[in-house]
Amino acid sequence: MEDILIKLENITFSYNSFPVLKNINFEVRVGDKVGLVGPNGAGKTTLLYIITGFLRPQKGKIIILGKERKKEKDFIEVRQKIGLLFQDSDSQLFCPTVKEDIAFGPLNLGKSKEEVLKIVQNISDLFNIHHLLERPIYKLSGGEKKLVALAGIFAMNPICYLLDEPSAGLDEKTKFKLIEFLKNYVKNCVIVSHDKEFLKEIANKTYYLEKDKFYKIL
């Protein structure tokens, strides 16, 4: 297995004529827990969307899991192996009930019904969300939504996690649980966050992204 999971080479991206990323080089190796900080609108979420293939850079190479990814087809595998937690959980959850939402990912991976049910059980044990399983998504609170969204990604057992502001809007207790979870169960991840304490606990590398600037600070 390759040592480098994600590698971006000279990525340049602009929305119409509005430049966001300029000649970015970025990599995630096995064991990396990368923190990504920077002001609003610096392009942090854009960077995650480029890795998952939702946005195509105007210039540069995307190499994920040892293969260069160019077309929509190449990214299907990427999305199955790299889990993206959206900034807004509302845009991530779309199934009628919590249970179905957690099951959606594993079903896409081609798992059988029994396997999927078992995964859902294990995950609800781990996240302590048994009481939520049958509830409709739109009746959850903000914090519950975040938890369910994370559970939905964890169910796919991705190689690497891309987490877009995972700690935003969580209370102290839930945040603590999240930190414990990320420490114990997540080996490789990229975390976009404004929460310095949170990053200090988890990240072993930190990058700073701002207009035209991109460098490692820790």
Binding site: R79, F86, D88, D90, S91, F94, L109, Y138
Partner: protein
Amino acid sequence: MHLEVFAEGNSFLHKLDPRIKILSLTVFAILCAISKGLLVPFLYLLFSLSLILIANLNLKELTNRIFSANFFILFMWLFLPFTYQSNPYIHLGFLKISLKGIKYALSITLKCNAIILATIALLATSTIFDIAHAMLHFKIPTKLVTVFFLFYRYITVMHEEYIKIKRAVLARGFNPKTNIFTYKTYAYILGALLLKSFERSEEVYKAMLCRGFKGFFPLLDHFKMEKKDIIFGIFICLIFILIFLFN
């Protein structure tokens, strides 16, 4: 999604008072729709084309729209020539194609395209907000105008919600195939779209209420009717009537 591509521009038609544009388009649409034969609709089409030239619009975007609109007219061509009960017929194997049916379909095609082009040249060159504003000046009920404006505004919102859900689905490795799971997923996407749009509209409504919304949008800018607007209105309506009387 950017819907008001044509409203960005600086031509004579862009600067015209929207009220005049709505009035002249109404005259045009009625006269064009009730005109007979092939020649008059053809002249109307030529006139609409010249309006488009004056408006100086993005041609690529324009052909896109014309193309999708004509897709519906295509159905007329599939049925009219074969079902019109009139002589003379052209025999094509077991099919009978009526010449009058073809003429009829052609006339409808010409009229439709003339009206579509005129609508783009006259109405799409104003922003929807200006159009809604102009509608208020014509004493169209405030509620109706507000509904029209919000309806339009929410097309973009719905589209944004759709893109978000699509990303969520793809992010978890969805790969559409011909099976029940795929259809079920599409149904979920549709259901979620409906629920989310509803939720979002409720939220926006609350935000509007917090800022003192009383059922209509207060206006900030007002139109100024100038001499050139009135002259254009009279001139263009005269041409419409002349073409109509040409037959």
